[in-house]
């Protein structure tokens, strides 16, 4: 499975894609001159997860199930909301669907803002809301 690299050049990019994720190309936009901070978060599939009995256990991959097209819609709505609430210049949120191996990236969030503080706050707010609003579930594939 090839990792997918996006090209990000609009104010809001959001997508659920059926593969692991690579670094999106971040194209400088007209907003560029106001930009003071770009923060990128990669969520990576970790080898150890807690199983149903509360024990740490090794896995080989996570299998992400999505409820389509709601997953895409919620991701886009969330990105647009966070862009506006935190006065960002740009945001991109891309989530994997299906199987993603340990060590591979299943979620990428990039925020571009005038200052570091608003970029970091927006990032936290996005990830917290994602876990509540996005109809995306992960199933561990144990080693």
């Amino acid at each position: 499975m090839t990792a997918l690299a996006h090209i990000v050049d609009g104010p809001v990019t959001s997508e659920v894609v059926t593969q692991a994720l690579a670094t999106p190309a971040w194209r400088a936009g007209r907003e560029g001159a106001h930009t003071g901070a770009i923060v990128r978060f990669d969520g990576v599939v970790r080898r150890m997860e807690v199983d149903a009995s509360g024990e740490g256990r090794a896995l080989v991959a996570l299998d992400y199930q999505t409820y389509d097209p709601m997953a895409d819609r919620e991701l886009t709505a969330l990105a647009a909301r966070i862009l506006e609430t935190h006065a960002l210049l740009r945001i991109a949120a891309i989530h994997s669907r299906g199987r993603v191996e340990v060590g591979a990236t299943s979620f990428v969030l990039i925020v571009e803002a005038a200052h570091r503080a608003e970029a970091l706050v927006a990032m936290e707010a996005f990830i917290d809301a994602l876990k509540v609003d996005a109809p995306i579930w992960k199933r561990p594939i144990w080693a």
Partner: protein
């Protein structure tokens, strides 16, 4: 009337199915569907406190009306990322 509700993740595992059906009064609301899920599917009760119902891929308020052709999905607070 009977409605089908799509389920996912841990709820699908508990139901051992990707959808469940429940009997609801005519002209049901979201609250009616959630109440019927709790009454008819005890195995799903663990998830209901954090779950919301989506109608046609959008989260719906508890007073929202459920129509005959609507796609219903139970979304629990166990998200991605």
């Amino acid at each position: 009337m009977t409605v089908q509700v799509l389920v996912f993740g841990a709820i699908a595992a508990a139901a051992n199915a990707h959808s469940v059906s429940v009997a609801v009064p005519s002209s049901p609301t979201v609250a009616d569907v959630l109440a019927a899920l709790a009454a008819e599917h005890p195995a799903l009760r663990f998830a209901l406190p954090s779950a919301r119902l989506a109608i046609n891929s959008a989260f719906a308020a508890s007073t929202a009306a459920v129509g005959p052709g609507d796609e219903l999905a139970l979304i629990a607070l166990v998200g991605g990322g």
